[in-house]
Symmetry: C2
């Protein structure tokens, strides 16, 4: 029986999501909890890797179990074992060939910026504090130029250089909610640090340090300059994983 | 120079707000930070006492300084000294006779209930998980009967018994936002545990364990039964403090 589990987590206390020896990661914790519940080892497949300090309101993990189990009962059991900053929110039986990463057709990230003067206790560690005055209109216009199928080499961290740098961005929106600025990105996939570099670039376009045309130029030349900075991990949230049968958020209970 | 400071905090790690010897409290932390910044002791006056585990998105503290200081600069300096779960969000000069507690004409609490099956990592410790099916309409009808000037003896924890148990509730509303149920209470003042007991009572009215008329009966008789339970601290948020010149939330920067 193949199971898909939807979790949320605060990345603050973890060295990223991926399994690592001698480091506390989201998947290490999940693997440990799963072993406690099942009583045997089963390999887990995660929808993506997130860096140290990055959060997720929707992250997917799939794995097979034998004998079959009740998906709801599994959620309760896992939550009993997991620390409070990692929570299972839903779980369901999926086809045998389903894979949390390879079956995903899209992902959505939200980069949360606090654009006021003083961050609240509630938001501490969960937003990027960027107190400078920005022009939302310029940011929106620039974000629109990200949409489409492009070579995103200019928006990739050095560690992420690979053969295929082409991705299709379906959505890049700036949504202001008072002092909050939410940057929403949806794509078929993202390169290493891509959302954080797009965010840093858009913020510097917002302040006027870079022209709106900078993104089109960077997409054309593939070159990244120091003003296209990598916004910090703490503002980044994996917000949705899209499969053939829908957004994994809809599997939350 | 008399200063009013607006802070927010997560109560999870603290033994309440009030100054205590040999215990970590919000006011202990604030007092310590203030001493570091000013270099001398000055007594602080807090808008209210909150219990262990209770949070505040808006909590007020006043104190005098001599020589005068810049209120904005003070915010930055205090935030440098304070832990991340206590944040200063604004500060302003007020009249010499202003007192954070005695000058308050009203307070607003929000009790946050998560009414779904599984709490997210983001909400862990910040909401009360009440997964049972409730009738919002019954809760709203019952909440309306709390509004007005009443003797709230039936809604007061044992430790809080005092001479004057009369309070004026100006607002008692149930606001549903998907799986979230926010109970909003505004009054000239609240008795010990009053919001948590009103919440527990309303939830048991929502499930049908108590009739809608139970609140009117309790206000009349002054008697509290075990179904009028005290909802846990973790869902309770002090959300606003009202002074003659407005809601302290408006002083946030």
């Amino acid at each position: 029986m193949n199971i898909l589990t939807v979790i949320s987590y605060l990345g603050t206390a973890y060295h990223g999501s991926q399994i690592q020896k001698n480091a506390n990661t989201i998947q290490n914790e999940f693997q440990k909890a799963l072993y406690s519940v099942l009583g045997y080892e089963t390999p887990i497949k995660a929808c993506s890797r997130t860096d140290t300090g990055v959060h997720a309101s929707c992250f997917c993990i799939s794995f097979t179990v034998d004998p079959p189990i009740d998906p709801d009962g599994l959620c309760y059991a896992l939550n009993n074992e997991l620390p409070g900053d990692i929570r299972v929110e839903g779980s369901r039986v999926v086809d045998d060939d389903f894979h949390a990463r390879y079956s995903a057709v899209g992902k959505r990230y939200v980069y949360r910026v606090f654009n006021g003067r003083f961050v609240s206790a509630q938001d501490n560690g969960r937003v990027y504090h960027f107190p400078y005055s920005v022009d939302d209109g310029k940011m929106t216009a620039a974000a629109e130029t990200l949409v489409g199928t492009h070579d995103f080499s200019a928006f990739c961290g050095k560690k992420g250089i690979q053969e295929d740098m082409v991705r299709t961005v379906k959505r890049a929106e700036i949504v202001r909610d008072g002092k909050y600025l939410n940057l929403i990105f949806e794509a078929d996939g993202f390169l290493y640090n891509m959302v954080r570099i797009m965010t840093g670039t858009l913020l510097n376009i917002g302040t006027g340090k870079l022209p709106v045309s900078h993104i089109e130029d960077a997409l054309r030349t593939g070159e990244r300059d120091r003003l296209m900075f990598t916004a910090p991990a703490e503002g980044l949230w994996l917000d949705g994983v899209i499969y053939g049968f829908g957004d994994a958020n809809s599997f939350k209970r």
